[in-house]
């Protein structure tokens, strides 16, 4: 076991800002990418469905 306490774990031998700055930004960007992906899928489907409906309306008239 490397850590005597939770505080020691956070402190990372005095280098906590660098270590957690690395892991934190990595986590944040991964979450952001996953969020953007699910949004993209939804937006694409909405947009393409509307385009399709516009095409059908146009060919009906």
């Amino acid at each position: 076991m490397n850590w005597d306490s939770f505080a020691a774990f956070i402190d990372m031998g005095g280098r906590g800002a660098f270590v957690w700055g690395s892991y934190g930004v990595t986590l944040a960007l991964i979450v952001a990418e996953l969020w953007a992906l699910s949004r993209r899928r939804r937006d694409t489907l909405h947009r393409l469905l509307r385009l399709q409906q516009l095409d059908t309306d146009r060919s009906a008239t």
């Binding site: 031998g13 660098f18 930004v25 992906l37 489907l45 393409l48």
Partner: protein, 246 residues
């Protein structure tokens, strides 16, 4: 099995839908194990103390940024050579995730450089060529989005991917070819200068990055396939079905 079957966007669309969650789960499991090793199993480094733990993200991210660019170049070459639309979709789907890992390699490198070398950044060959890689990713994304004619956009993107691939061996060998602030590689195929727990942790994190990249690329390529194939009967039916639910 006929592999050419999967070059059809329709077949690949459903295959990607099946495989993406599988790779997602693999990535989550590997990342959990990898993080456990990174913080609890791997010992404190005798020279660097705890800050070396950045390596478990830094090296996998840097590797991934190079591998993804090579994969983009590969698909671009196939697309240009065989005229397969799906190859260009794959190249386009890979780019944002490649850019993400490239940025993370630079970011974690800066945060690691400051306490160990005394600087966030130096214009040495390794860092400069890695920064160039980030701009190549941005260039690919911007160019393929800016050109309205989709087929021309595909070709322009393919050219950036193929020409830019020259930069990958430059990044990889820069620490050998030039006298860089960045250290040489700690591991290669025949020997390693790292403690084995550290090495295993790093390799597991690298595999997690692979699985993650495959999963997100497959999800992204499904949106691209629908956009580009929307006039085909199967895609139109899929859009009607899924669009009503979304």
């Amino acid at each position: 099995m006929n592999l050419f079957k999967f070059s059809s966007p329709q077949t690949f669309y459903s295959l990607a839908g099946t495989l993406a969650p599988v790779f997602g789960v693999i990535a989550a499991v590997l990342a959990t194990v990898g993080l456990y090793i990174s913080f609890f199993a791997a010992p404190t480094d005798a020279v660097q103390g705890e800050v070396y733990r950045i390596i478990f993200i830094h090296v996998p991210a840097a590797w991934m940024s190079m591998v993804i660019y090579l994969a983009m170049a590969f698909w671009s070459a196939i697309g240009l050579g065989l005229g397969t639309r799906l190859s260009f979709y794959m190249a386009k789907a890979l780019a944002p995730t490649g850019a993400l890992f490239c940025f993370l390699a630079l970011w974690t490198g800066a945060l690691w450089g400051r306490p160990t070398w005394g600087t966030y950044w130096a214009w040495d060959a390794r860092m400069t060529s890695q920064l160039l890689l980030l701009f190549l990713y941005f260039g690919h994304i911007a160019l393929t989005n800016a050109i309205e004619d989709a087929r021309r956009a595909d070709k322009a993107g393919a050219i950036i991917a193929l020409v830019g691939a020259v930069n990958i061996p430059i990044i990889y060998f820069s620490v050998k070819w030039w006298n860089t602030l960045h250290q040489g590689s700690s591991i290669n195929l025949t020997k390693s200068s790292m403690a084995s727990t550290m090495l295993i942790g790093m390799l597991i994190m690298a595999l997690a990055a692979w699985a993650y990249s495959i999963a997100v690329t497959l999800v992204r390529v499904r949106s691209i396939i629908l956009e580009r194939e929307r006039r085909t009967d199967w895609a139109a039916a899929e859009i009607r079905l899924q669009g009503a639910k979304a």
